[in-house]
């Protein structure tokens, strides 16, 4: 089939007097691993629940596989959800939890057993198949929730903050597992997160939300390298923001010029700490003083104070072949590769 797998058309949600999601359009392609990224309260869960059919939208349409499903509840949609907090059935074993959906669907009991075993293998839970959820670790519960949803072979798997409840180490392991799972079954995943690192690591497409609106979407590299707004720049990764002025679709900074279509006025030049160099030959150069130098393990974090008082953070690899550093208090010249600079509204 051509066309997107999921299409949201001017979808919005208003709770009494709060508009959680403003009318927005979104298309998700087959095989996508899409992250809905944004700070807490920006409407991610609301949007996900409208896709899953748990919340009727105030306006707009939801289409899945070309079919209008706006009026259908979750039980009638070809989507499955992994809930924040998992929502496992506490009175059923792991195997019974996984077998619940197929049983409701009236699949053949022998087929159900096979499906359950296949899922247990997929998420490495064979050893705990007969345990109750309460007797599982957080990571295991997470995997049961995944298996329980995936056994339904959903067209779209929805995940609400799937890793938020796990500790850091487990979270990294589960990120790898989720990626492997997505690859293994070749499905379409949409997940909600407020963790930009997680979104960048897992997703092939990121949709960034702010206060109920989509403010940017693209590949992780797009949103990281070419933030469309000050909000995106500061929310995704670390960013240096240098005040400048736009005149005649150009921004003059550090002796160079950046092409920047738009009306004249104040702007911010955004550059990532790892893109700033100490290369004096760079066409854009800024003079400053090294104020601090911290060893961060894989990289060094330099703080440079410019003449106007602006501080610029620079990340440099701390490997053996890294160039020797100037001392604290020394004058340094920072190089800003034009391709790494974005211009956003202040």
């Amino acid at each position: 089939m051509s066309g997107p797998l999921l299409r949201l058309d001017t979808i919005s949600k208003t709770y009494r007097d709060v508009t959680a999601v403003h009318p927005l359009d979104l298309e998700v392609g087959r095989g996508d691993f899409l992250a809905l990224l944004g700070p807490s309260g920006c409407g991610k869960t609301t949007l996900l629940r409208m896709i899953g059919g748990f919340l009727p939208p105030t306006t707009g349409r939801v289409e899945i596989e070309g079919r209008d499903v706006t009026a259908l509840g979750p039980e009638k949609r070809n989507t499955n959800m992994v809930f924040q907090g998992y929502g496992l059935f506490p009175h059923m074993t792991v195997a019974q939890n996984i077998g619940y959906g197929p049983k409701i669907a009236g699949r053949d009991p022998e087929q159900i057993d096979l499906d359950v075993v296949r899922m247990l293998n997929l998420v490495h839970l064979n050893a705990v198949a007969d345990r109750l959820p309460a007797a599982l670790s957080g990571g295991q519960q997470q995997r049961v929730a995944l298996a329980r949803a995936l056994v339904m072979r959903p067209a779209i798997l929805l995940l609400d903050e799937p890793l938020a409840a796990l500790d850091l180490k487990l979270r990294k392991a589960m990120q790898d597992e989720l990626k492997a799972l997505h690859k293994a079954i070749g499905g379409t995943f949409i997940f909600v997160t407020h963790d930009q690192g997680e979104a960048i690591d897992l997703a092939n497409r990121i949709v960034i939300m702010e206060a109920g609106r989509i403010v940017q979407q693209g590949t992780p590299e797009d949103v990281y390298r070419r933030p469309a707004s000050r909000f995106v720049a500061s929310f995704v990764g670390d960013a240096n923001m240098l005040p400048a002025r736009r005149v005649g679709a150009e921004v003059a900074i550090g002796g160079g010029r950046l092409p920047a279509p738009g009306v004249d006025g104040d702007v911010l030049v955004v550059i990532r700490p790892d893109d700033v160099t100490l290369d004096a030959t760079c066409p854009i150069g800024l003079d400053g003083t090294l104020a601090e130098c911290r060893f961060m393990g894989p990289y060094q974090r330099l703080t440079v104070t410019l003449a106007d008082g602006t501080q610029v953070i620079v990340h440099r690899p701390s490997g053996a072949d890294a160039a020797p550093l100037p001392g604290v208090g020394d004058a340094v010249r920072l190089g800003l590769p034009p391709a790494a600079c974005s211009v956003v509204a202040p």
């Binding site: 929502g87 009175h91 949803a149 339904m152």
Partner: protein
């Protein structure tokens, strides 16, 4: 001296307990005593009074009625109470609290007032008094127990479990049967037993609404008015065991949080 203070409180507590429990203990004690008048000296131990009781056809009649009332009231309170609690759980909190206030009114009212109101109601409707009027009367004051206990559990219920079941294709009834019911079952059984215990030993409401028939408590009342017959103690002891037994099981079950 905390030691002495503690001792004092312990002593006071024991005294209070003895005071509260001694009448009950006496009932049980005299149900096994030979003395005709249920006074000291009690004489030897005997099962004679239980024999007298079991030979009384009124006892079997009252027992049968009590069984019918208690079981029906338990069943109806369970179903009605659960349905009400599920509806309340889906109502917005302000309205739900107001409704709970109305529903629990019968247990706040003095039983005598409630009994009078019910009896007047039945007679004005021209309903003949009997078990058919006793049962709904009991339900009026037993269902609040079920509603309150089940509603309290639903308030802390993990709704993601219900969402999950829906997501996996289950309809409302299937969700209730396969997910909600198994999770709240211990609470539900406990609340039902509590309702049954309350129904089993109710006297006032039964007395006003039963007309000519008898349940165990109204039979005790009737026996008290006649000659003091120690088999009344045997009957009292039996009702005591049944009520306390169901209440204890109910408490155990409702405290269990699976």
């Amino acid at each position: 001296m905390p030691g002495r203070g503690n001792l004092l409180w312990t002593g006071f507590g024991v005294l209070a307990l003895v005071f509260l429990l001694s009448p009950l203990a006496l009932v049980v004690f005299f149900s096994f005593a030979e003395n005709q008048n249920a006074t000291f000296p009690a004489g030897g131990a005997t099962l004679h009074w239980y024999g007298v009781l079991f030979d009384d056809p009124d006892f079997w009649k009252a027992l049968g009625n009590s069984a019918i009332v208690t079981l029906t009231v338990g069943l109806v309170s369970m179903v009605v109470g659960t349905a009400a609690a599920m509806t309340l759980a889906r109502t917005r909190p302000a309205l739900a609290n107001a409704l709970i206030g109305v529903i629990t009114l019968p247990i706040m009212l003095p039983p005598l007032v409630l009994a009078l109101a019910l009896a007047t109601g039945y007679s004005s409707l021209g309903l003949p008094l009997g078990l058919g009027t006793v049962i709904p009367s009991h339900v009026v004051f037993t269902q609040p127990f079920v509603i309150l206990v089940v509603h309290a559990q639903m308030a802390s219920f993990n709704m993601a479990v219900v969402d999950s079941a829906r997501d996996l294709g289950a309809g409302p009834w299937t969700i209730f049967r396969t997910v909600i019911l198994p999770i709240i079952r211990p609470t539900l059984i406990g609340a039902t037993l509590m309702a049954m215990a309350v129904s089993l030993d109710d006297f006032i409401i039964t007395y006003f609404t039963i007309g000519g028939g008898m349940t165990l408590p109204t039979m005790i009342w009737g026996m008290l008015r006649k000659a003091l017959d120690p088999s009344i103690n045997a009957l009292g002891a039996l009702v005591l065991v049944a009520t306390v037994g169901t209440s204890l099981i109910a408490l155990r079950l409702t405290r269990y949080r699976g």
